[in-house]
């Protein structure tokens, strides 16, 4: 081989994806070194939407920090509310009334449903199919209506309080939720018929974006990404909190480790969320929705506290160091998509660029949550 041919073979070029690019779902930038159509190295660059959440946790009082929780991962904001409520309840030893816990579970699962629906639509949009987005948003708006009726907002919820929830749910919400579940349940098999069995989708997803369980452990990936790699790990089962132990649901696990497995995990999770909501509605007792003895001014005793919940994208955990004042000494937010993205560099080596973007979609990224 001549020297010229060799140098041509080794010729690589650098490609910038983002920070404004429709496939990155936000302001993520990926520096890619390409060899033709194949990726040699892809390096995600973060920080384009860093909004100082952790710093605000340190200079806001405990109650003033609530709105930030709705703006971290704005697609599963209620799960983040749950994380913060659980953290302070653990620190202060506040007992939560049972009805409040059931309301929390119902709203969190509704929120998870709408998050997965939006992901479903946006993911297929990335792959070139426009229609599923419209179907998904049609269903999603129904959930937003239900949640808006109890929480008062459509997206950035600030619904939980320490020791309960802000508002009790009314009968309209309960009957509306039941009717909605009845409506959504036949839709999911229809999605499978219309989308999952599609040959083009199978070509783009099956055996693409292989992530082994070891790689997931190495980078700390959680949520559907981990469960798509054959590891049965769900905080709701492994470190039970709230009333999840009393509810009967399965954790979908797929062993194929490819993009299709992650897709299937999320689709099955929607089914399980519906099961959880139905059971919780049946079991929900009457009673107060706020702990009576919850103090107005919070000063958790000195110490280091931690609480983890299963958000739509994986394990969200909060850790705070309290020095017994009305603000946190240090607030640490562990967001799932940051870890899920960090394996992108290793997993995307040698991949076609178009496959890498499909793979990135299957990770379900929310950038403001990653940058915090």
């Amino acid at each position: 081989m001549t020297l010229l041919a060799q140098s041509q073979l080794q010729e690589t070029f650098e490609l910038n994806i983002g920070p404004q690019h429709p496939a990155t779902h936000g302001v993520l930038r990926v520096k890619v070194i390409m060899d033709g159509e194949y990726i040699v190295k892809a390096e995600p660059v973060l920080g384009y939407i860093h909004r100082m959440h952790e710093k605000m946790g340190e200079n806001r009082t405990w109650n003033q920090f609530w709105p930030n929780l709705g703006r971290l991962d704005y697609l599963s904001a209620i799960a983040y509310n749950h994380g913060y409520a659980g953290l302070l309840e653990r620190a202060m030893g506040i007992e939560v009334p049972e009805r409040a816990e059931y309301i929390r579970v119902i709203t969190v699962e509704l929120n998870r449903l709408q998050s997965h629906l939006l992901w479903f639509g946006a993911f297929i949009l990335d792959l070139g199919g426009f229609t599923p987005l419209m179907y998904a948003f049609d269903e999603r708006e129904q959930i937003l209506d239900l949640l808006e009726s109890v929480t008062g907002s459509r997206l950035t919820y600030c619904y939980f309080r320490f020791g309960g929830v802000y508002n009790d749910v009314d009968d309209d919400f309960i009957t509306g939720t039941r009717a909605f579940i009845k409506r959504l349940r036949p839709q999911i098999p229809m999605y499978h018929d219309l989308v999952t069995k599609n040959v083009i989708l199978m070509e783009r997803l099956v055996d693409i974006g292989h992530i082994s369980a070891d790689m997931c452990r190495k980078y700390g990936a959680t949520g559907p990404v981990l469960r798509g790699s054959g590891v049965n790990f769900d905080i709701r089962k492994n470190e039970p909190y709230s009333v999840y132990p009393e509810l009967d649901f399965d954790v979908p696990v797929y062993h194929e480790c490819d993009s299709m497995a992650r897709y299937m995990v999320r689709m099955d999770e929607m089914e399980q969320s519906m099961r959880i909501i139905e059971q919780a509605l049946d079991k929900m007792p009457d009673g107060p929705v706020k702990a009576e003895k919850a103090p107005k001014i919070l000063k958790p005793p000195k110490g280091d506290y931690h609480f983890a919940v299963e958000a739509a994208r994986g394990t969200f955990s909060m850790r705070t160091v309290s020095d017994a004042t009305n603000t946190s000494y240090r607030m640490r937010l562990r967001s799932p998509t940051y870890s899920n993205l960090s394996l992108f560099e290793e997993a995307s080596r040698g991949m076609l660029l178009s496959d890498a973007l499909a793979f990135m979609g299957s990770l379900d990224l929310v950038i403001p949550e990653m940058d915090r």
Binding site: V27, H50, L118
Partner: protein
Amino acid sequence: MGTESISGIETSVPSSIVQFHMLDQLRALARANSLWPMTFGLACCAIEMMSAGAARFDLSRFGAEVFRPSPRQADLMIVAGTVNKKMLEPVKILYDQMTEPKWVIAMGNCAISGGPFKFKGQYNVIEGVDSFLPVDVYVPGCPPRPEALIEGILELEEKITGTRRWPRVKPETAVKG
């Protein structure tokens, strides 16, 4: 900003000796009813922007549904979310790359003033995109509802044509549910 040279041509036509008033009006009407926004989601507001374009709210009723990922094909920049110091330069570049005539909507409190992330001693958030972009319409809310964004686009249409083409919905006449 690169706007000076081209906007010179824009303004020179009506002030010339030969007036094309009807033609200008027609052109403004066409522009106002076929705004092409840029797909430019920054944060939470981007999801409401998606909602505005999707099933229920259907922005295409007002001719503004053609979201373009490339700034060169777009004439409306909807700044939907928080702009921070690192993102400032890319936003400026994107605005400069858009072709004239172009408009800017600041969507959400973050884009208007820094919103909930404005506090004493904050180190990263730009407090209002109007500090570096010529904003035409402000849409408040955190995040604004899709209806609010649609109203913002209608306001912009009014600004372009000078007349309101769609009826203004008053709160007392709005249909509930």
